[in-house]
């Protein structure tokens, strides 16, 4: 019978805390990057220019259909052969950001589709340019429509951030994997990882619920 012994976690708590910190750092920076890139993508995906629209759609589709691991390797191992050498954590953040940006642009697109067409027409009639009407009229409403989808995308980002350990960034998954390999205390480390990831995603879920309560559009529910 296997008996649990959590003292192994206490002996190297410093490494574990460091790993948790790295995971949170990577997630936050990558989500900021993903959010701005996703906004950028979605602005071109609703462009009236058909060529731009098709091209951006194609790019987003391509990103969505490649495994994240391949994108990470492309940054970390592919680019040096072209002469671009970046530190591992930067590669991880860039790859994670670009990968998630595709999903975020999808979420934002669904939010934009939920905003009535008349709003952008009215803002056009008031003489706003396309960028202005996007930034001041459509986009803020679209954000309020898709809080839940964005929340689940960010949760996916936190989970996907474990893949940066493949390029030797010492995040919590790396610590767990190394701990299992060193001591073969599988269950303790597994429980630790579950607790860490559950609390991180749980925190995001909590924030999503709070934001949804504050910012949801009251008329949206009546229409639906």
């Amino acid at each position: 019978m296997y008996n649990l012994d959590f003292s192994i976690l206490l002996t190297d708590y410093k490494i574990i805390l460091d790993g948790i910190y790295t995971t949170i750092f990577v997630s936050i920076v990558a989500s900021v990057l993903a959010f701005s890139l996703g906004t950028f993508f979605v602005y071109f995906r609703i462009s009236p220019n058909l060529l731009v629209k098709k091209f951006t759609n194609f790019i987003v589709n391509c990103i969505r259909n490649v495994p994240l691991l391949i994108i990470i390797y492309l940054f970390y191992k592919g680019f040096p052969s072209l002469g671009i050498i970046l530190p591992a954590i930067t590669c991880g953040i860039l790859a994670l950001g670009i990968y998630t940006a595709a999903y975020i642009s999808d979420a934002l697109l669904s939010g934009i589709n939920a905003v009535p067409q008349e709003h952008s027409q009215a803002s056009n009639a008031l003489g706003l340019t396309r960028l202005q009407s996007f930034l001041y009229v459509v986009y803020p409403q679209a954000l309020r429509h898709c809080i839940y989808i964005l929340g689940s995308t960010f949760m996916n980002l936190i989970k996907n951030s474990s893949l940066v350990s493949f390029i030797a960034v010492t995040d919590i998954f790396y610590v767990v994997y190394k701990g299992i390999a060193d001591s073969y205390r599988i269950y303790e480390y597994f429980i630790l990882a579950i607790v860490v990831y559950c609390s991180l995603t749980g925190f995001v879920l909590l924030m999503t619920n709070i934001l949804q309560k504050i910012y949801k559009i009251p008329s949206a529910e009546a229409r639906a």
Binding site: N65, V66, P67, S81, K159, I194
Partner: protein, 225 residues
């Protein structure tokens, strides 16, 4: 840029693609089966069973797949070292493939269970009541009222989940299963052409997933008519 490295190792890479397809196919079939079972249990209000399944689904959905693969590979698979013949008999070549399939199936079936549950829940109660008033029995209600609508609503999410599963098979490279990603790693570790190889593999994955999307859309159209 030198693409001859790809043509030289083409056969090896395609073997990797074969393993990827095999793992993906078995995992899709099994996770559809288990996901449906779990989803129906979660939907039915059998008190204790529904709670346990709900706990499993919630925990699985909030941890990364790679953790699952590592856990299965280190905890359950060692007990199977003596049974390689049996695994080969049921079509699984090696222990790594077994671990990968078990982990991916357990992981994906939690997601599919949630999709199925939400699809079943989206059918309004009034429709079932109306069907009962028309004196349909429960089998007829499920076959003619609930399932056709629920399947239509679940289909986009299920398609997305299948694409995700195909991409997720790349994580099996962590435990040394020589599928497409690991095969690429092996090739570029002995050469200096990482960029070309990774670009090629990305293209292979894109083509594969576009094909799967096409097939699923075709099937959707056939069901609609």
């Amino acid at each position: 840029m030198n693409f001859s490295i790809i043509t030289h190792n083409f056969y090896f890479l395609m073997q990797g693609l074969g393993i990827t397809l095999k793992v993906a196919f078995i995992s899709i079939m099994l996770s559809m089966l288990f996901g449906t079972i779990l989803g129906v249990i979660r939907f039915s209000k059998i008190f204790i069973l529904s709670r346990i399944v709900g706990l499993f689904i919630d925990i699985t959905r909030s941890i990364p797949l790679i953790l699952y693969i590592i856990f299965i590979h280190f905890s359950i698979s060692p007990y199977l070292y003596g049974h390689a013949d049996f695994l080969r008999y049921i079509g699984i070549d090696c222990l790594e493939m077994y671990s990968a399939i078990v982990a991916i199936v357990a992981f994906t079936s939690a997601y599919i269970a949630e999709i199925i549950r939400s699809g079943l829940q989206s059918i309004e109660k009034e429709q079932i009541m109306a069907a009962k008033a028309l004196s349909l029995n429960s089998y007829q209600i499920i076959k003619y009222i609930v399932l056709p609508q629920a399947i239509t609503r679940m289909k986009p999410a299920l398609c997305a989940q299948i694409i995700t599963l195909v991409k997720d098979t790349s994580l099996a490279s962590a435990i040394g299963l020589i599928e497409l990603t690991r095969a690429t790693e092996i090739v570029y570790e002995t050469s200096l052409h990482e960029f070309e190889l990774l670009l090629f593999v990305a293209l292979v994955y894109i083509t594969l997933n576009f094909l799967i999307q096409r097939i699923l859309h075709m099937q959707e159209k056939m069901l609609n008519t």
